[in-house]
């Protein structure tokens, strides 16, 4: 039976026969295993995405009638101060994430070499990442309250309470206070990622470098940095798109009051409190387009930079070789 089937491929099998064959099983397994994830993906990502695009052309609430208004929502987003102006706050978050990356890179480098109590330090610094957002909100409302934790610690350091600003109310400083909480929460997580990347560098490279007499700083510049540049780039890209869509710190700590409302906080307020769904959708679509543009630009930029960096790496290697040769020659001369 089986042989005759393979000999005469043109012969049509009945559906049942096909279903029992390997090919049929394959298709069944594929369908059975992919239906649920794909249905979830479409219902909670792509369908809402399409709907949101549609909403952005209507004046509407979640319930009740809808009125087609064309591009009016988009025009409004650019006209209203509280919408587009809120994107300026992203600069604070970008600056914060650069500080965060530098800090966690430093700590990761320190901790990947032998350090007494390294695991305890790592644990302390990582733990904030595991706290839920609302708890973080309360912790920092408490932390920054006038005369409370932060002010007390600063007073220990010799500051006068009268000279200290209201950390969450003073518009000159409150965005920085909020960004600091985000750095507090994520620098440990970033550090753990970097440690993981540094650990995956071949340890022979360090040994070789030590034999060549390279100090810790040179090891960092010539070995660690080049080998973890991919993950650093990834984090830079994530941090820039992340700062455009900054949401959590102002949402849980100040609720966007006193000029701390980032773009998404304003959008959330417009969508769920004021129920201007159309306007909020237009805001979302505009920001998504900005994020995509930023992502693509950054990818291109880093591709370009890396191309140059790699060339430089080769030069650096050549220079190193020459230097070593010179040193060897000098030693031999002695």
């Amino acid at each position: 039976m089986a042989m005759s089937k393979t000999i005469v491929p043109g012969k049509k099998r009945t559906f049942l026969e096909w279903a029992r064959s390997r090919d049929g099983q394959k298709v069944f397994v594929m369908i059975a295993f992919m239906v649920i994830p794909l249905v979830l993906l479409f219902t909670f990502t792509y369908l809402p995405f399409a709907e949101m695009f549609g909403f952005s052309f209507y004046k509407m609430k979640y319930l009740g009638e809808r009125k087609f208004v064309g591009l009016k929502n988009y025009i409004k987003v650019f006209e209203r101060d509280d919408c587009f102006g809120a994107l300026k706050l992203s600069l604070y978050y970008m600056a914060g994430s650069i500080v965060q990356l530098a800090l966690s890179l430093y700590l990761a480098t320190v901790l990947s070499f032998k350090v007494k109590g390294g695991n305890i330090f790592k644990g302390f610094m990582f733990f904030p990442y595991l706290i839920n957002g609302i708890a973080v909100g309360f912790i920092f409302k408490f932390f920054y309250t006038r005369g409370f934790v932060f002010d007390t610690v600063l007073q220990w350091c010799g500051f006068q309470l009268d000279n200290l600003p209201y950390w969450l109310r003073d518009q000159r400083i409150n965005n920085i206070s909020l960004v600091a909480t985000s750095v507090w929460r994520y620098f440990g997580q970033n550090m753990v990622l970097f440690i993981g990347a540094i650990m995956s560098v071949d340890s022979e490279l360090y040994e070789a470098a030590m034999l060549d007499g390279a100090n810790k700083f040179q090891q960092f510049i010539y070995i660690i940095l080049p080998s973890i540049k991919t993950i650093i780039t990834l984090n830079v890209i994530l941090s820039i798109t992340g700062s455009l869509s900054a949401f959590e710190p102002p949402y849980v700590i100040t609720d966007g009051a006193n000029g701390t409302g980032t773009y998404f906080v304003v959008m959330h307020e417009i969508a769920h409190t004021q129920q201007k769904v159309g306007l909020a959708s237009a805001m979302a679509i505009i920001l998504l387009m900005i994020i995509f543009a930023a992502t693509i630009l950054q990818k291109l930029f880093f591709k370009y930079v890396f191309k140059n960096a790699e060339d430089e790496d080769i030069n650096a290697a050549v220079r190193r070789e020459k230097k070593l040769a010179r040193m060897a020659a000098r030693k031999a001369g002695k």
Binding site: V29, F138, L288, T295
Partner: protein, 281 residues
Amino acid sequence: MSFRKIARVILTALKYLSLVFFSFVAVLPIVSCVVTAFKTDVEYQSTNVMTMPESWLYFKNFTYAFQNAHMGKAFINSTIILICVLLVSTLVGTQLAYVLNRFKFPGNNLIRNLFLFASLLPGVAMQISVYEIMTKLGFINSLIGYIIMMCGTDVISIYIYIQFFENIDYSLDESGIMDGASYFTIFYRILLPLLKPAIVTSCILKGVGTYNEYYNANLYLQDKKLLPTVATSLYTFVGPQGSKYNLICAGVIISLLPALIVFVTCQNQIYSGLTAGAVKG
């Protein structure tokens, strides 16, 4: 030589000083919360926040916060959500990764990219229209609805699984096929047990995320008395009780105890999970 030695000592001192300083910064906000959670109302109002409480055995704030914020109910709900979400998303995620890794078919790459692209969309923005869909499905104020929404497999765990499948030799599948096992049997009996390390890793990541999720829980589980999760139960303290920080801190500490316990016990798995997720993601 001696100059070098001095320089090295100074550098080491600076290194440890910076480590101690940043650990202090990381821990200070939490420690101040713990200190305040043990204070009586009178003590809280009369002493500085950083003065130690009179007694470390004053647990009334904890019991009051626990009852007032319906945290008993919240722990039950969070546990149900956690178990269901982890079960479903592990099963769905591993199955999807199996098909994407083992079968070549047109659209394989398209599906991978669809998931990847989905991860670029910020959740807060998507909730504008997801809210509409959840309303239509009758999923507002429904634990099941919330669970289903949270099950949407995330890209990171799919990548962890796919990466893991790549390292499992295909000859295992082949020997199964030779023995006449169906694809289901091969997946459940042979491959799934081998995936255990990857499953543990992504369950820890997803578990932490689910336990701490509050934005959607707040949006879709609006009945805070019947359907609180541990994270949203803390919303009880917004409003009239907004300045009784000895109570609030007690609530906060209760809510982060489970995370602390998991962290202390599976520290290394959490680290490796994060790293595995990030390198591929």
